[in-house]
Symmetry: C2
Subunit: 236 residues, 2 copies
């Protein structure tokens, strides 16, 4: 079972592997929000790439989340702050969601063998699933507008380290090696390691320190969002 | 003076900065070979993207280097092994060169404010030049067929670390932070750190250990290849 890490949705076609499970990662904050939503009882989510599609869902009566540049788009119910999903109003609902980076990445990977959603919030759940699947793994980092970001590659490194050192997976991919090496340096204090990162600073300017601390705290939401057709559903 | 690192020529348009000096990096082996060539007295080099262009230069009497997938293309005089340029035959010559990744990256950056060629062989020369220029810096890693590679980002990290910690440059770019962190881990033994890297293994299979050891040994060739129009020339 071979592991690769793709640092940007733009590069996904270079990595496409029909036999791989694709783990989509947008730690700050889309995949953390999605994981939180399922942990809080959301029934289904519909990731859409554009605000226009999100508007259509809203006009059809759906609860809709829309975020661009770290803020809720005007007129929408939710953004990608995980705290927006920690209430009983979302329970049993189907929520359409579009975000700057994360839902673009899910959309890019939609034709893969299997697509799952990863974040530090469901770290061990993701590892357990991949261990059982016994397939190649491709981590697709959402990044920031197609640029590399640290937090997504750190999560890829966290999972890859476990799969390689404990469960017999392997890699010949430099971005996987880099992700693992970065995670080894960061894992004792993710928050401090990311203190200079571009996206953490972008969110800090928007006063979202609480979101960041939450998104970097592993294993608070042991659920596995899985893509089935156009829906994300709870896979465990 | 702001620093950014672009991990793949494919992503270059996202990073294009008209005020930046672009440092093109293909440690194994194109920019190491080019640096070695100028240190051994080559007058000019003409980086070309395709083998077809290289053939045209050959038909017009030029000395021509052509490498694809780590081997010399049949019918050409040189590839991208630095040792091919360590002889008196190249002195004073103009050499056209095309390689799998490196010359593609130079070609991608040709409209930048200034383009220079970096490798561990001219590490301190690159740092000195950038320190004097006092401009933004964009490291353009050639990678391998548009995928991230370790050795190019390690070189970017080596230069970025010096510019930021000693000479007042700064960064808000996650790929720059990652490159510096990786370099900090690797710098005490680049050769061992890269022992698992994909490209080192690719070259090792081709029995090029001597090339790798040479390319990872800093400051053997204190020259600065600079792009002027379609030519690379010695800029110091």
């Amino acid at each position: 079972m071979n592991i690769e890490v793709c640092f940007s949705p733009q590069s996904y076609p270079l990595f496409h592997n029909p036999n791989a499970v694709v783990v989509v990662i947008d730690v700050l904050r889309a995949t953390s929000a999605i994981t939180t939503a399922f942990f809080n009882g959301v029934a289904k989510m519909i990731p859409v790439a554009t605000v226009e599609e999100a508007i259509t869902y809203k006009e059809n009566g759906f609860l809709v989340a829309a975020e661009r540049d770290a803020e809720i788009v005007a007129g929408f119910d939710l953004g990608n702050s995980p705290f927006g999903y920690m209430n009983t109003k979302v329970k049993g609902k189907t929520i359409a969601i579009t975000t700057t980076n994360g839902t673009q990445a899910i959309t890019a990977a939609k034709n893969a063998h299997k697509v799952i959603v990863g974040s530090f919030l469901n770290l061990d759940t993701v590892i357990e699933f991949l261990k059982k699947e016994q397939k190649d793994v491709l981590f697709l980092c959402a990044g920031w507008k197609n640029k590399f970001n640290l937090e997504d590659s750190l999560f890829a490194g966290a999972v890859a380290e476990a799969l390689i050192y404990k469960f017999g997976f392997n890699t010949i991919c430099d971005s996987t090696i880099a992700s693992i090496e970065l995670y080894k340096q960061a894992k004792h204090n993710l928050y401090d390691f990311l203190s200079n990162s571009s996206h953490r600073n972008r969110l800090a300017r928007l006063d979202l320190e609480r979101d960041i601390r939450y998104c970097l705290t592993p294993n608070q939401c042991p659920v596995l969002p899985v893509l089935e057709g156009k829906f994300l559903v709870k896979g465990n």
